[in-house]
Every structure is written in C-alpha cells, then in structure tokens.
Point group: C2
Chain length 473, copies 2
C-alpha cells in the first residue's frame, strides 16, 4: 500500500469512530505508543477509541479488508511490550478504554459482566457495592483494564485461593479479525459443548481476536481475615509452612508470599511508613493471609493454630499476627513496596518465573550461583507468590557498580536464570506474558511441537496476520 492509499485507509478508520475519537497528532498518539517504563517504544499514525462493540467490529472488518495491522490496548500497564505498536508506523492502535461499561452485576448468580475497558479498581468497587468480592488483585489495579487482564491472563496476589484471571472468567465476547462477533457471554459453571474457545482467547495477548467483554466470577466477601508474618531460616522452612497452612486453611489460605531478607530491607528503607515487623531480621519471611466466611475469630484461630504448630515443628522462628486492619495493611505494604523500592538501589534486571511449588527451594539454591557467575556482587531480590510457585526473581546491580554496564548483562543474566527454570520444568513467564520481550526466547527454547500447534492456531484464526503482529508467536 502506498502512502496515499494508506492515508485514505486511515481516514476510513477515522470515519468509523468519529474525529474526536481518532487521535492522529503526535502529542495525542504519544501516550499510546510507549510502554510506561520506557522499555518499549513505537510509532503509530492513528489511535482509534471505539465506543461500542459495533465500532470495534467495523474497525476489524476494515482492517481485514485493507490488511492493516491492529494493536489492541487496554490500560497500557503490561510489562512485556505486548500492548504497543512497533516502529514501522504502519500499525494502528485500538484502545478499548471507552468500552468501559459494567453491563450487569448479578449477585445471585455471583457474576458481573464487564466491558474490556473497565479499570480493575472499578470492578472491585462495583463488586463491593453488591456485597461481593472480585478477587483479582494487582499492583496496577488503579489503571489496568480487565480486557488487558484477560488477554494476559493476569495473576497477582489472590491466585492461590481464587485462581488466575482465566479461572475468574466464565465467558467472553470477542471481535474476530474479520469483524465477526463471537458472543459467548455465558454464566455457566459447567458447559461441555465443544472446544474450549474461551481459554484460547484468554492469555492470547490480542493476537487471535479482541476481547470486548467478559462474564466474571464474584465471591462472597469473607467475614474475617487475618494476616501474619513469619521469620524463617530457609526456603525449605517456607515450604513446610505452606504445606501446613494449606492443610489447615485450604482455600481459606488467601495469600502466601515469600520475601527474602534483602527485599525486606529494601522495603523498610525506601517505603515510607513501613515498620520492621519482627524484632530480628530473618533470612526469609512468609506473609500469610487467612480468610473465613464465618468470622474474624475463625480466621484468627486458624492462623494462630497453624503458626503455633509450625513453630513447634521448628519451621517458623518467630511470627506475629497483624491483629488489626491497619496492621494488616502495614504488612501487605511491605510486600507491595518491594518492586518499586528497587529503583532506589540502582539498575535492576527482573524475572517473572514459576517452578513447581515444591521446587522453589531448589530453584533458589541453584539460581544464586548462576547469577553470581554473570555478575559477582549482584544483589538477589527474591520475593513473590510462593503459594503459586511464582517468584519475582529480580537482580539489583552490585553496590557502586556502573548501571549501564550491569544492564548490558541483561541477556546473559536472563539466560542464566531461565536455564535453571527450564531445568526444573518451570516457566519463563509465570504471569506477565510473552509480548515482544520474550517472543524470541519462546521461539528459541519452547518445544517445537507446541510452537507448531500455536502457529497453526494463529494461522487458523488470523490468516492475514493483522492481529497484534510481532507479539507472542
């Protein structure tokens, strides 16, 4: 397509949404073409902000008719470059932000039907207003959108008990590359009528179609909740504590986070208002949350019981219960502040890995020398969702070292850490997705049979290759 024809096509896209919702000047386009940390940048001649599913459908029909590449975008909070265009200037951005209606809340069915552009926090608030819980909980919940959460199968801190975004979704509405609308907005807990299409679109990062709405699960709000922090000598002790907690609390164990001694010190040093939770510093900490449908007392009793048993068994050195909502928040603040606190310690190289839960101690033992071999003196900031086998295994530069020299080690550091992950049959992307960041690594290291199946699906759903090209596969 020559420049003149392309400009005419852009005009036709603009006509669909109207000039007010077709951004074409550089300052208007700017916020949509960069990933917020500045790691990924791109160009786009137009950002379309459709206001209805019908408009999305017409945009896609035109995109198919003209062979125009489309990059769907939610809150643009992704961490792997999946939501921004490339540098070609030929990919158009389709922002779902204006599709932000909660179409229905059905407290009796425990479901909520929301459009892709609803901000996660707004879903929390709406659920809360109906005396229900929507448990998906992420650091970016004030700006990420549920369409992006679904497209990346987002995880977060409540997965242990409630599951990933995939498990929280009962049905989807998807606009296909042709503009056809796949309406599967069902509220069913059981449905065995053919292939599982829903789970194919969830986690596909916008490369198969555009999720425009979804039926989400709601849960009764727990009547009681208790949070505690335990000081531990080792990751093995954390695993023993996790086993015990799962046995006693079952699905009532709504959080189990591991925190290394270094990330704890980073949080205490850099996050305003944090307080050292135990008298001594420990090599490792576990942050536990127990919820009860019956009462505060039950949540507290369960927590006390499991911690006492663990202390008697020798796996826990010291522990404290929050005892009040304010102190519960304080303990969670320690955990949530870690990632951000790293920026005060210089450059960092981050990993989002998972291994089988029982292999966490082995991963930690084997990854440390691998990191040291790439960068002696690099500081391991190891923390994360231990109950899911998911660690944010981040590496801060050695004290006093040159930041850029450390960042130049990015690929060798990734390889060192991911090699250990692969040896333990783990995942190099537990919850952030593939996007552009890990596409080459996936292609280079994933088993050929699985990659081939993914390519066949991509070709079957998007034969023209216009859906978010250059991402995932």
């Amino acid at each position: 397509m020559n420049e003149r024809t392309f400009a005419e096509v852009l005009d036709r896209f603009e006509t669909i949404v109207g000039p007010a919702h077709a951004l074409r000047t550089e300052p208007d386009v700017e916020p949509y073409v960069h990933e917020r940390r500045g790691l990924w940048t791109g160009r786009s001649p137009i950002v379309l902000r459709p206001g209805s599913v019908d408009e999305v459908s017409r945009i896609m029909a035109l995109a198919t008719g003209t062979g125009t590449a489309v990059v769907p975008q939610g809150g643009n909070t992704g961490l792997v470059g999946g939501g921004t265009p490339d540098m070609s200037g030929r990919q158009i951005v389709l922002s779902l932000s204006r599709l932000n209606r909660i179409r229905e809340i059905d407290p009796r069915a425990n479901t909520m039907t929301a459009e892709a552009g609803v901000v996660l926090q707004a879903l929390h608030d709406a659920a809360d207003g109906a005396d229900r819980l929507f448990p998906l909980s992420l650091a970016s919940q004030g700006s990420c959108q549920i369409g992006g959460n679904l497209s990346t199968n987002a995880g977060g801190i409540a997965v242990l008990s409630y599951g990933n975004t995939r498990e929280l979704c009962l049905g989807v509405e998807v606009v296909l590359p042709t503009g056809e609308v796949f309406d599967d907005l069902r509220k069913l807990k059981k449905d065995n009528t053919g292939y599982d299409l829903k789970n194919l679109f969830v986690g596909a990062e916008g490369t198969l179609g555009i999720i425009t709405a979804a039926v989400l699960k709601l849960f009764p709000k727990p009547r009681g909740r208790e949070v505690a922090i335990a000081g531990l000598q080792s990751p093995e002790a954390a695993l023993a504590l996790l086993d015990r907690a799962l046995e006693r609390a079952g699905a009532g164990l709504t959080g189990f986070e591991l925190i290394g001694t270094l990330p704890m010190e980073f949080a205490l040093k850099h996050v305003p208002g944090t307080v050292r939770p135990l008298a001594d510093a420990w090599p490792w900490y576990a942050l536990l949350e127990v919820s009860s449908g019956r009462s505060e007392d039950e949540a507290r009793a369960t927590m006390e019981e499991l911690l006492s048993a663990a202390m008697e068994a020798g796996s826990v050195g010291d522990a404290v219960l929050a005892g009040s909502i304010a102190r519960q928040r304080g303990l969670w603040m320690l955990r949530e502040g870690i990632s951000d606190s790293q920026r005060f310690e210089g450059a960092s190289i981050k990993h989002d890995i998972s291994v089988p839960v029982a292999s966490i101690p082995e991963f930690i033992a084997r990854a440390a020398p691998a990191v040291a071999s790439v960068s002696p003196g690099a500081r391991i900031v190891c923390f994360g969702h231990m109950g899911d086998g998911n660690l944010h295994y981040n590496i801060s530069q050695p004290v006093g070292a040159d930041a850029q020299a450390f960042l130049d080690l990015y690929h060798s550091m990734n390889k060192a850490v991911h090699d250990v992950v692969r040896e333990l049959n783990g995942s190099i992307s537990a919850e952030h997705g593939i996007g552009r960041l890990k596409r080459d690594e996936l292609a280079a290291t994933a088993p050929a049979v699985g990659l081939d199946l993914m390519r066949r699906i991509k070709a079957a759903f998007d034969p023209a290759g216009i859906m978010n090209p250059g991402k995932v596969i």
Copy 2:
C-alpha cells in the same frame, strides 16, 4: 482403499502392538464397539491396545500415512457415544487401557502424573495412600479412566469446590494425529507462555489428539466432614440455602445437590438399605456436605450454623445432620442411587443441562409445562449438582404407558427441554459432552461464529480428519 489394501494396513497396525494386543475376532472386539447401555453400537475390524506412548505414536503415524480413522477409547463409560466406532467397519479402536501406570506421586508438589488408562478409583486409592485427596468423583469411578475423564472434561459431585476435570489438570501429554508427541506434563500453577493448548485437548473428546498422560492436582485430605439433608418447599428455598452455605463455608462447601420429591421416593423404593432421612416427605431436598481442614467439630459447627440460620430465615423446613460416617454414606446413597432407580419405573429420557445457578428455579418452573406438553403424565425426575447449575433433568414415562411409545418422543422431549435451556442461556451438555448423541443438535443450534472457530481448530489440528470422526464437530 480396497479391501485387500485395508487388510494389509490392519496387519501393519497389529505389528506395532503385537498380536496379543491387536484384537480382531468378533468376540474380542465386541466389548469395544458397543456403548454399555446399548444405545450406541458400531463395528470395527481391529482394537489396538498399545502398551506405551511410543506405540500410540507409531499407530497414529501409520493412521495418518494411510488415512485410517482412529477412535480412542478409555473405560467406555461415556454417555454420548463418543468412544465407540460407527457402523462402517473402517474405524479402528485405540484402547488406552494398558497405559495404566501412575508415573509419579509428588505429595509436596501436590501432584500426581498418571497415564490415560488409569482407572479413576485407582487414582483415589493412590492419592489416599499418599495422604492426599484427588477429588474427581463420578458414579462410574470403578471403571472409567482418567484419559476419558480428561477428554470429556468430566464433572461429578465435587465440582462445586474443586472444579471440573479441566481445573484438576495442570499439564498433558498428547499424541497428535501425525504421531508427534506434545509433551506438556508440567506441574505449574502459573504459566503464561503462549496459547492455552492444554484446555483445547481437555474436553475435545479425542477429536484433536490422544491424551496419553496428565499431571493432576492433589489436595490435602479434609480432617473433618459433615453431611446434612434439608427439606425445602421450593427451588427458590434451595437457592437461598445455597447462597447462605457458600457465604459461610466458601470452598469448604464440598457438595450441594438438589433432589426432587419424586427421585427421593424412587431411591427410597428401589435402592436397598436406604432410609427416609426426614420425618416428612418434602417437595424438595438439598444434600449438603461441608469439609474442614481443621477438624470434624469445625465442619459440624459450620453446618449447624448455616442450617440454623436458614431455618430461622424460613428457607429450610426441616434438616438433619448425618453425625456419623455411616450415616453420611447413607445420605449420599440416596442421591447416588437415583439414576439407577429410574429403570424400575419404566422407560426414561434423560437430560444433562446447566443454566446459571440463579436461574435454576426459573428453569424448573418453565420446563415442567414443556415436558407435560410433549407427554402428559410423564414424571419429572429432577435432581443434580445445583451448586454448579447442573441438573440431571430426567423424565420417566407415565405410569402404565407404553415404553416404546414414550421413547419415540425422545427428540420432541429433548427439544422441549433444551429450548428452555437455550432461552436461559444454558448448556445442553453440562458434563457428559457431545459425542454422537448431541452432534447434530450442536451443529443446528450453536452460534455459527463459534462453530466456525471449532471447525477451524479441527482442520488445523487434524487436517485429514482421522481423529474420532463423526464426534463433536
């Protein structure tokens, strides 16, 4: 392919597994070509019983090379004709029965890796031996195999708390039509590296590939369990009780079954050893099970609490707790005996439907006149997994009517019931699958866009159409 070439191809299949495991005489083949209730019958020139994944792989490579249709079969307990060949005599049966090794039990990771041919009961026993629970629980668990459970995404009585087979599976090993092996036997709770292939094979009823092994989730064994039965005036009262039970017990509510007054009387009349559970007969009953990771006392206290509250609120008329393991079994026996007890009441036409949980009362209210319009005097045997929105809405013939005349109403009865299901956005196959039984109805009534996507997947995975032809899609 002429007869002579076909015979030569069969010889080559036989060579792969050896003559002892290639059944070719009519009496040997017989048990594999009929569905056990006799509803579906077929013919096959050979039943192959491979003893390894490599043999399965070589069978499929040969099948692709020769264009031979393959029908994978587990325990042959399916209810929709998905596991048996057609009448052509050209489809070969591939029985997974000899792939019956539990490859690994990992109590720390809470996983078990089992081959397709392991009988479900053997998985229960193995989990029990490792002090763990594998919760998938079906009437046919003494003979169904996990490969079939996975391929049909089987449901059962523990779905409410633990999920369908899909949710109980972390990873699969699949032999593709070409013979290639897709090895995705991972133990990860979080993995966002590309499209969700696992969930595509689970529930595909052997039409995309052959699941040869899977990683299954294990759970801590509850320390306490209580079962109760409640007498109710209406389905609305059952829904109110379910809401309350979910609120109090959360994921500790491990069972919530609805039983109509007629199925209760059928079970009491025809199942030896059953005892009327409440002093009076009630229009409806709910069977509840609560489990606790802490103690018997907690399970009992939770159950008492929620039933007392429901009685005070007026939704429960009468209720009794089992109080002992033997009486827990007795209450479950009432529920589990219903389906079988129907055969003493003449011919029956059965349905396996789901609707949004909150729509159960409306479904029941609307389906009854629809049934009566097809067969006045037909008796509605309504019971099932209310917590999942899934009812076995079975119809027994009118007393004294002609059985065959009633069975001749099969299609019009199905249509009457399924029309109500569709009006309520429900599913015509909640847990039994599509197979041959509901293939035409799916094709005729499912939205075209979804069917088209399924057909594209089928064509992408099985271009020659040799995987279980004539089933699902």
